[in-house]
Amino acid sequence: MQFAFRTFGRGAHPPASKFTANVPLAEFDAPELLRVPLSQHIGAPAVPVVEVGDTVAAGQPIGESGGFVSARVHAPVSGRVTAVKKGVTPTGAQCVHIEIENDFEGRTAFLPPLDDPTPDMIRERVRECGIVGMGGAGFPTHVKLAPKTAPEFFLLNGAECEPYITCDCRLMTERAEEIVRGARLMAKAVGAGVALIGVESNKKGAYAALEKACGGADDVRPVLLRTKYPQGAEKQMVFALTGRRVPPGGLPADVGCVVDNVHTAYAVARAVDMGEPLISRAVTVGGGETGAPGNFFMPVGTPFSFVREKTRGERSDEDIVKVISGGPMMGVAQSGLDACVSKTTSSLLFFGAKESAATSPTQCINCGRCIRQCPMKLSPRDIEKAVVAGDFPRTEELYVTDCMECGVCSYVCPAKRPLVQAIRLAKKTLKERRK
């Protein structure tokens, strides 16, 4: 009965590989040294407000937002600031990190809980707590919660369509109450009448928990969606839940929707009800070379090397071929373990030779899979041809800018051609030329 669930057109079915779906969320050991990146979000990086030698408590602001589209950063643990220096982020970029030596005293500096907050109070609290979209993009949530016109729908994205990742699944299963509470708060903040939570059909447990938490209410309810990649893409999620099509270059707000991730809703509920800033998140650690995989609440700033140490199990580091921050479809391959967990790190995968087989491209056989399965109805085959020919204006005619880089084309290609990679090159080149 798979086809009975709501979904979007086209797409692909990579193996789900949700090996950690039944591993309960656990608190991760706190590291002795944390490096908190000041750019964990889209927009201006945060500005450091502490200095080397300062003593901080968990939840105390250490970076003030550097503009309207920016977000505050807080100390994840109590301790002492030992350095303010540049470092590498999980996306491969460079930004200032604040290094904190954990004193394991557990001092906290949370905000007072809010009782029956108004929309403005919710927005202000979200801003104070530095909450950003935790699905991957990291768009500052207080900006998203201030739409120009009140939308009809508030949509929560619990699709988690990327293979391997199970942190949202566990969060929905174990913390459904908080997520539903967060959904109500966020719907209230944007002025939407209805909040829908989209969950893929392979997360029946999460769906049941959310349904129980909603208790048959009219204003919030979960909706089962077909398991298909990229079900969690914003435009595809809007279409599956409401049947509305976000126009090219547009935002969900254009069709009366605001979309946010379930983990964000959880963070909002914690911020409002407990005054806790966004200083930790659920992270899936998996992949074939992880000896002790699982889902963990990790403080932001936990170094990847520390994560590896605690989850290595019986495995050897020598067998790791690839380290991915995020999922295998859209995640970022790491060149080392220097980066640290940020607010948008949903998973850390350690792949061996078997899982990340290197493929060399062969000649395109014109099978048309990339064209038939592109969720955005583009023609990756033609775009790649234009890129190979160096004809970048042609790629623009082929709507290359509407590509969301989900990677379906490269995934399904039998000739293993680097299609989405060519598209990225085209977008980057067009951007540079426009300057």
Binding site: R245, A333, T359, Q363, N366, L378, D402
Partner: protein
């Protein structure tokens, strides 16, 4: 862990490979090959082996001469060889498939850049080439052999080297009978049995006669998602539709439809040749035009042409149109549809403008 592999996402790929797809096509061709052996004995199988060997050998040599990477391992030459052999009459001289496969691979496929770059289906183009080169042997068909006598399995090896076959063993194909019925205005299905045509107990090309065997392979391809199933469905459907339209006043509409569907190479062409990757369009609108065009051309050629190779010529012609169909632009997801009302309003506005222009012009003349 010193040398981590860093690459742009996605970090996983589907198990589909070119080789696996071609292997699927070969598997799908097996029922037709089996039916061919059961109907005509081992001689056409021998021709198939020659055709495949010639195809693979030519690709191998071509790659060596032009200093390209060897591509014979992708199995696409094997597919071309099998499809060409199944397209030939069961009894032709042994050199016919050898020359045909060489033409298909070298001229139609490799000279245009190899796999995925050919402008027309290699097997069909080669078949038409052979048709013109050896019209005599390419148009004489034999009856299926009686397999109750095991020796008959080797029945046609003796005649294989003859250019013209004795009348005693040749037969007319159903479509030749239908063609005569068109001019005489009689029942086209006279003397034909739908069951025989479905199972393949008729004269025709070696691998195309058994509709049943072709359908089994076609369903396999559709289930494995190797082919875009819209193409055969549209092709077969539109052939039935256009047959009904073109023969509407003949008095034998039903008979024409089923003889046209079961006779000739329609089923084989629809599943195995019209769906050829390099020469079929990909976007839904283009596929619909392609499918309808195939059906239309097939019926027109079969009804008005002097030859019965409607399917081959229709596919070849639509192959040539495919690059044009590919130019039909597809708008990205979410592009607002023009409302019917909006369109009507736009048309009306245009019309009204013309009207006023005419009126104004009229006034000026007065």
């Amino acid at each position: 862990m010193k040398n981590l592999r860093v690459s742009s996402s996605p970090h996983i790929t589907s198990p589909a490979t070119t080789q696996r797809i071609m292997l699927d096509v070969i598997i799908a061709l097996c029922p037709a090959v089996l039916a061919m052996v059961l109907l005509y004995g081992f001689y056409p199988l021998f021709l198939t082996v020659l055709s495949v060997s010639s195809a693979v050998f030519c690709e191998w040599v071509f790659n060596i001469i032009t200093k390209r990477t060897q591509t014979t391992r992708d199995l696409s030459a094997v597919v071309t060889g099998i499809i060409l052999a199944l397209n030939l009459p069961p009894v032709v001289p042994f050199y016919v498939p050898i020359v045909g496969a060489a033409f298909a691979i070298i001229v139609v496929k490799m000279l245009f850049g190899g796999i995925g770059r050919n402008f027309a289906n290699p097997a069909i183009t080669a078949r038409i080439f052979l048709m013109l080169a050896w019209t005599g042997v390419m148009t004489q068909f034999v009856l299926p052999v009686d397999l109750s006598d095991g020796a008959n399995l080797f029945a046609y090896f003796r005649q294989g080297v003859e250019i013209s076959l004795p009348d005693a063993i040749t037969t007319a194909t159903p479509l030749q009978g239908v063609k005569e019925a068109i001019s005489s205005g009689t029942d086209p299905s006279a003397g034909l049995s739908a069951l025989d045509m479905f199972l393949g107990r008729i004269g025709g090309s070696a691998g195309e006669v058994s509709t049943l065997a072709v359908l089994i392979g076609g369903v396999y391809l559709a289930v494995r998602r190797v082919i875009d199933v819209k193409i055969p469905v549209l092709y077969i459907g539109s052939t039935a539709l256009f047959t009904a339209i073109f023969f509407a006043d003949s008095g034998y509409v039903g008979e024409y439809v089923w003889t046209y569907l079961l006779g000739g190479g329609l089923m084989f062409g629809a599943f195995f040749m019209a769906t050829d990757y390099a020469t079929s369009p990909k976007t839904p609108v283009a596929v619909v035009i392609y499918g309808l065009g195939l059906g239309f051309l097939t019926v027109v050629i079969r009804k008005y042409g002097t030859m019965n190779e409607g399917v081959s010529f229709a596919i070849l012609l639509m192959n040539i149109v495919t690059p044009l169909l590919e130019k039909i632009k597809r708008k990205p997801f979410g592009t607002p549809h023009k409302d019917v009302k909006e369109l009507a309003a736009a048309v009306r506005a245009k019309f009204a403008k013309k009207q006023t222009a005419v009126e104004e012009g009229g006034e000026r003349v007065e």
